[in-house]
Amino acid sequence: MKKKKKLAGVFLSLSLVAGALAGCNSDSKTSSSSGGSSTSGDTIKIGANLELSGGTASFGQSAADGLKLAIEEINKEGIDGKKLEIIKVDNKSDAAEATSGSIKLVSQDKVVAVVGSATSTNTLAQVQVAQDNKVPLLTPTATNPDITNKAGKLNDYVFRTCFIDPFQGTVAANFASDDIGAKTAAIYVDSASDYSKGLAAAFKEAFTANGGKIVAEEAYVTKDTDFRATLTRIKSAKPEFVFLPGYYEEVGLILKQAREDGIDLPFMGGDGWDSPKVVEIAGAEALKNTFITNHYSPEDEDAKIQDFVAAYKKKYNKTPDAFAALGYDTGYYLADAIKRSGDASPEKIRQALEDVKDLQLVSGTLNLDENHDPIKSATILEYVDGKQTFKTKINP
C-alpha cells in the first residue's frame, strides 16, 4: 500500500520535472518544479536548513531527526489531503553556507517556509533572506534574542520553537521562590558571556518581583580556575540559593570548590550546564542539590512526551535530546500553521504562525509574545547521583 503511494509520488514528481523541462530550461536539477505555485500537486514543500555536518553537526542532526519523525507522522493523515515534503540543505555549520542555502530554498525550490538552523549564528545568517523574500523562517533551537527582534525592530517573518535565553532566568527565579522557598539568593555570573548576563538579569528581576532579596552579586570570567575567594564571600553573605548561569567547564569547577569550602546551598543554572563534562569535573557528589532549567526531559511522565520518546527510540534507537524534541515540535508547529493558513501561501503561514494559541507540543504549551518569542513551560532537572532527573515543570 505504502509502496504503491511512493511509486505514484515518484511518478508524479518525474512527470512534473518532465513538464518543467519541456516548458523551460530548468537550470538546476535540485529544483523539481520551476515557477508556479509551490503547493501544486499533492505536496507542500518545506525547506530545512540545518547543520548536518561540521562543528555543530550533533545539534543539527538531532533537530533534523526530530523534524523528520514529525513530518512522517503528519503525512500519515496529511494536511487537507496534501503531504509535506522536506527539502534539506546542509549548511555545514557555516554562516555563509546557511545564507546561500536559504536563498536556494526560497528562490529555486520555492518552499513555503524554511526551518532554520539549530544554532543562533547560522539562523541569524538567514534572517535577512526570510525578510527580503517574505518567506517564514522558523528555527527549532536558536535562543539568541536578536533573531526575532533586533534593537526593537521585529523581524516579522522569523519565529522560533524554543524559549529565549533570559526566560530561563525567570523560570529559575520562580523555582527558587516557590519550590525551594528561598527568600535570599546570590548570583554568580560569567561576565564574559552575554548568555550568562542575560539569564542573571532576568533572574534578578523575577526574584525581586517575587519578594526575594539578592544578597550577593559576584562575577567571574570564562577560563578562570580559582573561585574560592569569591565563593567564601558568597558564603558569608548567607544566601539560601545560588544562581549560577554559566557554561559547564567553569560551573563544574565552581561547584566542586564550593562544596569543598562547605557551601551546601542549592545551586541552579541554565542549559549551559547541559554537558557530561560538568559531571566529570565536579563529580557526582558536588552535584547534589543542584538544578538546571532545560527545554524538556525525556523522563517527564507526560503522555505526549513518553509517546514521542518511544516513537523516536523505535526509529533511531537512541534517547531524544532537547534538540530532537524541539525539531519534532517545529514540524508540528509548522504543520499546524499550514493547516490554519488555508491556502498554504507563505504570507498566510506567517500570519498563522503568529496567531498560534495554546498549541500542545512535547516541550510544553506554545504561545508567542509580541516579539515572536515562545512563552511556554520549562523543565527543571535535578542532578541525582550525577544524572539529570526530571524534577518539575514550571509554567510561565
Binding site: Y220, A229, T230, T232, R233, K235, I281
Partner: protein, 292 residues
Amino acid sequence: MELIQQLVNGISLGSIYALIALGYTMVYGIVKLINFAHGDVFMVGSFVGFYSITVLDLSFIPALLISMIVCAIFGVLIERIAYKPLRNATRIAALITAIGVSLLIENGLIYIRGAQPEAYPNDVLPMDKLDILGVSISSQSILILSVSIILMIILQFVVHKTKIGKAMRAVSFDSEAATLMGINVNNTISATFAIGSALAGAAGVIFGIYYIKIEPLMGVLPGLKAFVAAVLGGIGIIPGAMVGGLLLGVIEALVSAAGYSLWRDGVAFIVLILILIFLPQGLFGKNKREKV
C-alpha cells in the same frame, strides 16, 4: 572568620605560584634568562600526571614523582637544544627564543592531542572537610600545602648543603671564575634547569588535583603570575620566590574577598608594575649598582 578562610584560600593558591616561581628564579639566577617556556613545562607536568593517574592507574605520590622526572628531563632538553647555543648571544635573542619555545610546546601539544580540556579524576586524594573554628579547610589543600613546603625544604637543602648546590651558587655568582675553579658550568646549568622544571612538574600535578581541569594553554597565566611572584620576591633569590608566590596568592584572594574578583588578574600585574617602579630589586634583593 571570613578573613581567615580567605587567607587559607590565598595560601593554597600561592603555594602553587611559589613552586612555579622557584623555577623562574633559579634559572634567572644562573643564566640571567627569563625562561618563558617555564609555564608550559608546568602544563606538561600536569598532563604527565594526568596520564600517569588515568592510564597507568598510579596513585598521587608515584604520579607526582613521574611527572617531576619527566619534566626534569624535558627542561634539560629545552636548555640543551634551545638555550645552550645562544649562551653567548645577546640576552634579547635568548628571551625571544624562550617565547618561541613556549609557543612551540603549547601548539605542539594541541597538534598532538587537540585543544579539548581534561578533567583529573576526583578520587586521587581523600576528600575530607576539616572545620576549625568555622573555617573549613579541605584535607586536599592541607596535603597540597605540605607537599609544597616539603619540596621547598628539600630545595633549600640541595642548594645550601650539597656539592651541586654549592656549584650552582658559584656559577650564579660568577660563572667565569667558577669555570676557573674547575666547576663544570654546563652540567651545573643543566642541573638548575632539571630542578626548576621538576618543581614546575610537581606544581602541575598539584594544580590538576586542586583545580581538576587541565588544558594545553593552562600554563600561560599561572606562568606569568609566577613570574610576577619571582620579581616581587626579587628575581634570582630563592626564598624571595617562595614569599613572593605566597604573597601574590594572598593578595589575589583578598582582592576577590573585597568584592573585586574581576580585577584579580589586573591587580597581579599592577603589583608587577609597582614593584618595578619602586622596588626593582624585589623584597629580598640587595640594591646592586650595575657595572657599566
